[in-house]
């Protein structure tokens, strides 16, 4: 097999071409390597009607995409800015009914993605019975376990995203991506039809040649496109590389508290328009 056909994208925008309006997009939790530079690029491009799956939670990324009217449906277990408070655009969108909310619980999202990884139609999961999370999910079913005796259990249909997108420390010229111990990034890529990755830098050589690096590497087989985006998770952190920009997140929480403030935030930090 020849791997030299893989070419890193010339720009983030080029790598993001496969994220089309209306697609199901899976993104990682706030601490795993959130592609914030790519998220700003998607908003700038004006992507619409996303079915956003946040595995299993999100913070700034979901709030920004929702506030910028890029999201039709959100499927996740929680959206919050953590110690910086509630996610204001998410809360406003749910209370005003401008997005369809599919509330889940963390392991349900992991299990449904695992079903897609295995190519099976559903996955069973404990818990959930008697909760309103289950009550409002028409797509989940309760069956009596065929291996038990009066043992009700929930079945979750596989989540098969069109695209997975995340930010990672490095990729090599063969399209292999080093994710370290953020294994949920591999799960997203296995489950999704296509995967876009932004990276801090390109690694010269083949990541799979080094057994220490190979254990934390997502093979290029799963990767559609890679673009370099230095500090591409900012203002969120990248594990073992840089922490969150707490000052900026506090600023975001203040600005996004009102629709006007949020528009100002987009102008300044996403569209990068200069004040007149």
């Amino acid at each position: 097999m020849r791997f030299d056909m893989f070419q890193p994208a010339k720009s983030i925008d080029e790598a993001l071409a496969i994220v089309t309006d209306g697609c199901m997009l899976v993104v990682p939790r706030e601490v795993s390597g959130v592609p914030m530079a790519a998220t700003r690029a998607l908003i700038k491009r004006g992507v619409k009607r996303l079915h956003l799956v946040a595995l299993p939670t999100s913070s700034l990324q979901a709030d920004l995409l929702i506030g910028a009217a890029c999201v039709a449906t959100l499927e996740t277990s929680a959206v919050s800015l953590g110690e910086f408070g509630p996610a204001p655009r998410f809360s406003a969108a749910v209370t005003s009914g401008t997005i369809t909310m599919k509330d889940a619980t963390c392991p349900a999202l992991h299990a449904a993605l695992q079903a897609a990884e295995k190519g099976v139609p559903f996955m069973p999961l404990r818990g959930l019975i008697g909760s309103d999370v289950l009550k409002y999910r028409d797509d989940w079913k309760v069956i009596d376990s065929p291996f038990g005796n009066s043992d009700p259990i929930v079945l979750l249909p596989a989540i098969k995203p069109d695209v997975a997108i995340f930010h990672a420390p490095m990729a090599d010229p063969q399209g292999n991506v080093w994710i370290g111990r953020q294994r949920e990034l591999a799960m997203m890529a296995h489950a999704a039809a296509k995967t876009v990755v932004t990276v801090e830098k390109l690694h010269h050589g083949n990541l799979l040649d080094d057994p220490v690096l190979a254990a934390g590497t997502l093979p290029g087989l799963y990767v559609e496109s890679v673009a370099v985006a230095e500090r591409g998770a900012w203002p969120l952190g990248l594990p073992d590389h840089y922490g969150v920009d707490a000052e900026h997140l506090a600023l975001y929480a203040r600005m996004a508290a009102t629709p006007e403030g949020f528009t100002d935030y987009l102008d300044k930090y996403v569209y990068e328009r200069r004040a007149a």
Partner: protein, 253 residues
Amino acid sequence: MSMNAAPRNFRDEELLADVIARLIGDVRHVAVGNASPIPATAALLARERGQGRPYVSLLQSRKHNFFTDGARELFDCAGQGRIDVFFLSGGQIDGQGNINLVEIGEHGHPKVRFPGSFGSAYLYYVVPKVILFRTEHSRRTLVPKVDFISAPGISDGNVYRPGRPIALVTNRCLFSFGDGHFTLVSVHPGHTVEEVTENTGFDFDKPATVPETPAPSAETLRLMREAVAPQLAEVYPQFAAQVFGTGTPAFAR
């Protein structure tokens, strides 16, 4: 508080962490979710007292988080019974132990939206000792019936449920949970049974005489301040600085 009370040599956070550490007991593995500095203090205190036992997983931490198989590992671990203690909270908690992390008001048109259920709709069922923790003890938070059940306090007999709530710790008191309802166990120093009743929206049982929650011992305070606080500072720098005067605040990271 009575006028002749001795001056206190501990902070509220230290008292609550001590209460929670006793509830943890002698177990193999305690996990602590996001934004839970007081339960994290308690778990690390339990580990200091146990000279390395239990295993402690602080999910927000790099150092105190040994999982290597992705975010799902915690839940798979819990599903097998490998997590003995976990902590949950709620925007609302009701007298049947139901917790609400989703919304206030009518579903579809809520008045208030909370972040979401996180892992509660699973972990509440599979972790043997779930400790409910909510510092704000008011009729707003402790309600007769939650508006949305993120996870129920009790389940029908045929539902697989090795896990359950064992207690609710608030800024005013400690409740135990059993047979589908709460019982007042002790009232923290400086608070009264009348005040607890006045600020609780659900009915609860109580003994004829309700004891005061014991203050943390000198040895417990020493362990928290000298051994636990520096470990806590890695994951909760602002909390550690504020309560224990440890390290540098978060904005200096």
